[in-house]
Symmetry: C2
Subunit: 587 residues, 2 copies
C-alpha cells in the first residue's frame, strides 16, 4: 500500500518476497533479504539475494513518505547510553537530534576497538552471508582476490575486527535510525552508490525522494544527495526520513549556498555549522575535500580538464583567492570531533581527480592521495570511520596503479571510486565507459563504486537514467564479486543459467537484475503467453536453437550410451574423454 501524496514506487519485484533473518547476539535485529521463487518445474529452492530496497518492496508495509520510515536503529543507539538530545535544534522536527555525551565517541570504530559487537555489526554480518552457507560446498572458491581476505563466512566478530582495523566502515549516523546497516570494505561484497539531487536548474523534492526510492529498488547500497539549489536542507530531511540506506552529502555545497555561491566568502565557521546541521539531520557520510592543498593547485594548471570535482574547484578557488592553506585541511581535527559525536563517516574527497584520460594518474592526483592517507590516520586517531574517494577518468592500463597506490598510502581504508571512465569519447554512454573501469577496480579491491549515468557530462539524471546507472553498476559490482571469488556470488549466475538452459523464461526474468526489461525485450518479438514456455526464442527460431539441440545431444548421448562410444574410440586407439560417467571408462 502506498498512502502517500509523494508518489514513489512500492510493490515487490516479480516472484519476490521480503524475508528477514534474526540475530543471535542481538535477537531483535531483522535483516532483510529478497527470496525469488522459481517455477515448480525447476525443483530448486528459492534464490536469496542481497536486498537494499528497504520496506518499499514489502507489500505488508504501509508506506507514508510524510511519516518517514520506522526508526529501527533507535533502540540500539539509545541502549548504548552514550548519546543525549542535542540542544541546538534549529528546525522544527519530530525527533530531537542526538549527539554523543560529552567526550564520548559513538562511532562504530570506537565500539569495534572496545571489542563491542554492535547490532549494526551483527546485522551486516547476516546480510553479507546471503547464499554463502549453501554456496561454498557447491561451487568451491574460484577467483583472484588480489590480496583481499574474503572469508568463507562472515561472523559478527570478523565485521568488528575489520572495522577496528579501519578496513571497513558502517556509515550509520545516530540521527539516521531509519537506516538498515550495510558495510563498505574490500573484504565484503562490492557496493554501489547512486547520486541524486537537484541543481539550480532543475527538479523538486518529490522528484528526489522518488529517485532515492527508485535507486534502492534496483540495488543502490547508499545514496548521495548532491543537491545544490535552493531548499537543500528541506529536501535532505525528506530524503533522510525515508531512506533505509546510508545517505552521503558534500557539505561544502550547502555552505556555498549560504554565501550565495561566492567561494571566497566561505569561512570555517559557516562550514562547521553546516556540518553540525547535517550531522543532526542524520547524514551518514560526508565528502570532505580536505586533501586539496594550496601547494597542489599549480599541479593542475597544465591539465587538459583542470579540476573537475566541484568541491575541489571550490576549495581551490578559496585557497588561491586568499593565498592560504585550505580551511578544511587546517581544521581537520575539529571536523573529526564533529563526526565522532554523531558517527558521520568520512568520505575523503578526491578534489584533484582526473577529468580526462590525459590527466589520469598525474602528479596532482597522487599528491592529494598521499594527503588523504595522512588525514586518514588523523581521523582514525579520533575514532572516526574513513573511506577514500577515487577517480574519475582512467584508461584501463592505469587502473591497477590507482588501487595499489590507494592501499599503500591510505593504509587499506576502503576505496570508493567514481567509475573510472576508460575513455572520454562517448558522452551519452558514460555509464558504459565507466562500468568497464568500475568492474576492474572493484575486482582489484575498491569497496564501493559510485555510479555514472548516461547523462554524465550532459545533464542531471532523470528517473530512467538513475535506473540505468544503478543496474549498470550492479553488473560491475557483481562481476567484481565473481572475479574476487566471493563465496556464494555465483549462485545467482548458476540459477539463471539453469533457467536459461531449461527454457524457464519467467525464472530467467525473475532472477535477473531487471526483470521488467528482460521480460519486455522478450515480449517484443514473442509476445504471446505460450511463448514463455517455448523451447526456443526469436533469436534463432526453433530449428537453430542451440540449447534445444544441446538437450537432444545430451539425451542422445545418454541413450546411446557413453559406454558404447567410449568402446568404439578405444578400439580405434583414440582417447575418449568422458568425465560425465567416469565409471564407464573402466568397463
Amino acid at each position: 500500500m502506498n498512502a502517500t501524496t509523494v508518489p514513489v514506487t512500492t510493490t515487490a519485484l516479480p516472484a519476490s518476497r521480503k524475508v528477514h533473518t534474526s540475530g543471535v547476539l542481538h535477537p531483535d535485529i531483522k535483516v532483510p533479504m529478497r527470496a525469488i521463487t522459481l517455477h515448480p518445474s525447476a525443483r530448486e529452492p528459492d534464490v536469496f539475494v542481497y536486498d537494499s530496497s528497504g520496506p518499499y518492496t514489502d507489500p505488508r508495509v504501509n508506506i507514508s513518505i510524510e511519516q518517514g520510515l520506522p526508526r529501527i536503529r533507535e533502540r540500539w543507539i539509545r541502549a548504548r547510553n552514550d548519546v543525549e538530545s542535542s540542544s541546538s535544534v534549529k528546525f522544527p522536527t519530530r525527533h530531537a537530534p542526538l549527539r554523543a555525551k560529552a567526550g564520548a565517541a559513538v562511532t562504530q570504530l570506537a565500539y569495534a576497538r572496545a571489542g563491542i559487537i554492535t547490532p549494526e555489526m551483527e546485522f551486516v554480518a547476516i546480510r553479507e552471508n546471503v547464499g554463502r552457507s549453501r554456496a561454498v560446498p557447491a561451487n568451491g572458491r574460484d577467483g583472484n582476490s588480489w590480496g583481499a581476505n574474503v572469508p568463507e563466512y562472515v561472523t559478527p566478530e570478523f565485521v568488528r575486527s575489520e572495522i577496528a582495523a579501519g578496513r571497513a566502515i558502517i556509515p550509520a549516523n545516530i540521527n539516521h535510525p531509519e537506516s538498515e546497516p550495510m558495510i563498505i570494505g574490500r573484504n565484503f561484497l562490492v557496493k554501489i552508490n547512486a547520486n541524486i539531487g537537484n541543481s539550480a536548474v532543475t527538479s523538486s523534492m518529490a522528484e528526489e525522494v522518488d529517485k532515492m526510492v527508485w535507486a534502492i529498488r534496483w540495488g543502490a547500497d547508499t545514496v548521495m544527495d548532491l543537491s545544490t539549489g535552493r531548499n537543500i536542507h528541506n529536501i535532505r530531511e525528506w530524503i533522510l526520513r525515508n531512506a533505509p540506506v546510508p545517505i552521503g552529502t558534500v557539505p561544502i555545497y550547502q555552505a556555498l549556498e549560504k554565501v550565495d555561491g561566492v567561494a571566497e566568502a566561505l569561512t570555517w565557521e559557516i562550514f562547521r555549522d553546516t556540518l553540525i546541521e547535517q550531522a543532526e539531520q542524520g547524514v551518514d557520510y560526508f565528502t570532505i575535500h580536505a586533501g586539496v592543498r594550496l601547494q597542489y593547485i599549480p599541479l593542475t594548471a597544465n591539465r587538459v580538464t583542470g579540476i573537475v570535482s566541484r568541491g575541489g574547484s571550490i576549495m581551490a578557488k578559496w585557497c588561491l583567492a586568499h593565498h592560504k592553506e585550505s580551511f578544511l585541511y587546517e581544521h581537520f581535527e575539529e571536523i573529526c570531533d564533529i563526526c565522532r559525536a554523531y558517527d558521520v563517516s568520512f568520505s575523503l574527497g578526491d578534489g584533484l581527480r582526473p577529468g580526462s584520460i590525459a590527466d589520469a594518474n598525474d602528479a596532482a592526483q597522487f599528491a592529494e592521495l598521499r594527503t588523504l592517507g595522512e588525514l586518514t590516520k588523523i581521523a582514525w586517531s579520533r575514532d572516526c570511520q574513513v573511506m577514500i574517494e577515487g577517480p574519475g577518468h582512467v584508461p584501463m592500463h592505469k587502473i591497477k596503479e590507482n588501487m595499489d597506490e590507494q592501499l599503500k598510502h591510505c593504509s587499506e581504508a576502503p576505496f570508493y571510486t567514481l567509475g573510472p571512465l576508460t575513455t572520454d569519447i562517448a558522452p551519452g554512454y558514460d555509464h558504459i565507459t565507466s562500468a568497464i573501469g568500475a568492474a576492474m577496480i572493484g575486482w582489484f579491491g575498491t569497496a564501493m563504486l559510485c555510479y555514472v549515468t548516461p547523462k554524465e557530462h550532459l545533464g542531471l539524471p532523470n528517473r530512467d537514467d538513475v535506473k540505468t546507472g544503478v543496474i549498470t553498476y550492479k553488473i560491475a559490482a557483481h562481476a567484481a564479486d565473481l572475479a574476487k571469488g566471493h563465496p556464494g556470488a555465483r549462485d545467482r549466475d548458476d540459477a539463471i543459467s539453469r533457467a536459461r538452459f531449461d527454457f524457464r523464461w519467467e525464472d530467467q526474468f525473475n532472477l535477473s537484475l531487471d526483470p521488467d526489461t528482460a521480460c519486455a525485450f522478450h515480449d517484443e518479438t514473442m509476445p504471446r503467453e505460450a511463448h514463455k514456455l517455448a523451447h526456443f526464442c526469436s533469436m534463432c527460431g526453433p530449428k537453430f536453437c542451440s540449447m534445444r539441440i544441446s538437450h537432444e545431444v545430451q539425451a542422445a548421448a545418454r541413450e546411446s550410451g557413453m559406454n558404447e562410444m567410449a568402446l568404439k574410440f578405444r578400439e580405434r586407439g583414440e582417447i575418449y574423454i568422458d568425465p560425465a560417467q567416469p565409471e564407464a571408462s573402466a568397463s
Copy 2:
C-alpha cells in the same frame, strides 16, 4: 541523395565530411576517413577518425540499393591476372563470379608470402594510420600492449609481413569487390563486428540491409549475416552488393535449411556446395565449427548450459547421430581449397564456447581450442587466412587465460571473441556485461570483438539494439586501443576533453561516438540554443560548475603569478610544485 526504394540512412554525421587519401604504391586507391570540423574558437585542426561507414555517409554519392555499391576492388583483383569467371553460375546475377585459375592461390596470405604488397595492403596501412603522424610526438607512447608489437607508423610492408606471419588477415573475397579493405590483427586497431540476420520468426530483406548500413554508420568494421530463415541466399545477395565492409556468415545455417532443419541429414556434399555458393556471392569470411570433434562432446554433458553455439550444437548432433567424426574436421583440407580459390578467410568457430560463468574455461572449451590451433596450421599450409573465435561467458579473472591459451595454441592467429560476458545475471543489459569483458580481452590482444546487443538471450536485435551494440563495442575497442598504447588513439579523447573544458558543447557532441544522443541528452534539460554556449550545464548549474571555476582558478593562478606563490612557499620552507612554469622556480 538516396534514390532507393529500400530505405537506409545516408547523410553525413554532424560536422563531418568524408575525405580520401591516395596510395603511393597504388596511386588509384582512395582510403576514406572522416574529418570532424571543430568550432573556430577551438583554433584546432579537423579531427580525423577511422571511417567504416562506406559511401553512405558521403552526400556526394548517389546511393541505390538496387544498383549496389561501386566495385572498387574489381580492377585490383583482375589486374593480378590470377582469376577467371566461374562456370558454376547458378543464380541470375549481373556479375559473373570469379574464382582462382586452376592451382592459383588468390589469398592475401599467398600474395604476402610472395612478397607482394597488394592495393588491399596499402589501403589498410593508410587506414590504420589515422591520427598517427600527429599523435606520436604530442602524446608519446603510453600503454601496456601485453606483448603486442604495435608500430609507431603502419607501413604497407608491415601489413604484408603481419599477414605473411598469419598474425593478421584482410577478409576480402574476390567476389566482394565493393568492400573497402580492413585488417584484423593484434598489432592493429581493435575492430568490432555486428551480427545481423533474420530468423524463421522475424524480419525481412529490407530490414537487414537497413541494419547493415545502420551498423556501419556507427562504426561496425565487419558485419555477419546470421540469417536462418527462408530466403537466405537472396538476403545475402542484397547485403553483399551494398556492403563496403567484409561480410561473414556461418554456412552451416544455410546448409541446414537445405535439409529442412534436420541436422542428421546434413552431408559433406550439401555443405561443400553451400560454401561454393557463398564464396561465389562474395562472403568474406566463414565461421566453420570444425573443432567440434566427436570425442569432445561428452565433455559438455555436465555443463550448466551445454553447447550454446548454434553451429556447434548442429555439428554435435550430427556427430552423435552418426557416431562419426565431424565432416567439417574430416574434410577440412577440401574446405581450405575452396577458401583458397576465392580468398574467403576462416573464422574457426568455437562451437564449444561456454554459455555461462559456470562453464567458462572448461575442458571442452580448451580441448576445442587446441584443435583450432591444429586446423590453423592446415589452413596456413594451403595459403588460407585464419582467425579464431572465442567466448562467450567468462568471469573477469579467467579472461586473460583465454587470450594466453589462444596465443599459445593458435600460433598468434587473430582472436575474435564474443564479449565475453562477465556475469549471467543481467539479460537486457548484456551489451554491458560483455563490454566489460570485451574491453579487457581487447586490451590483452583480441583483434576483433563481436558485439552483443541488449537483446542477447531474449530476441533478435532491432535497429535501436544494433546501434546500442555497435556504440558499446566501439567504446570497448577504443578503451582497449588506449590501454594498449595505440599511437594516435588518444587524439580523439584529448580533443573532446578540450572541447568539454572550453564549453564548446557542439564540438563535444560532434567528436563523440554518438553525436545525436549526446546532443539530445543535453537538450533534455537545457534545450535552448543559447545554452549550447553556456559555461555550465544542468548537472551543477552555474555556481557549482567545476570547469568554470577551474578556468577561474587557472586565470587567477596566472594573474597573481605562480612566481609570487612559489616565493611565499619557499619562504615558509615548503615545497611549491610548479611544473607549469618551470622557469619560475629558478627566479
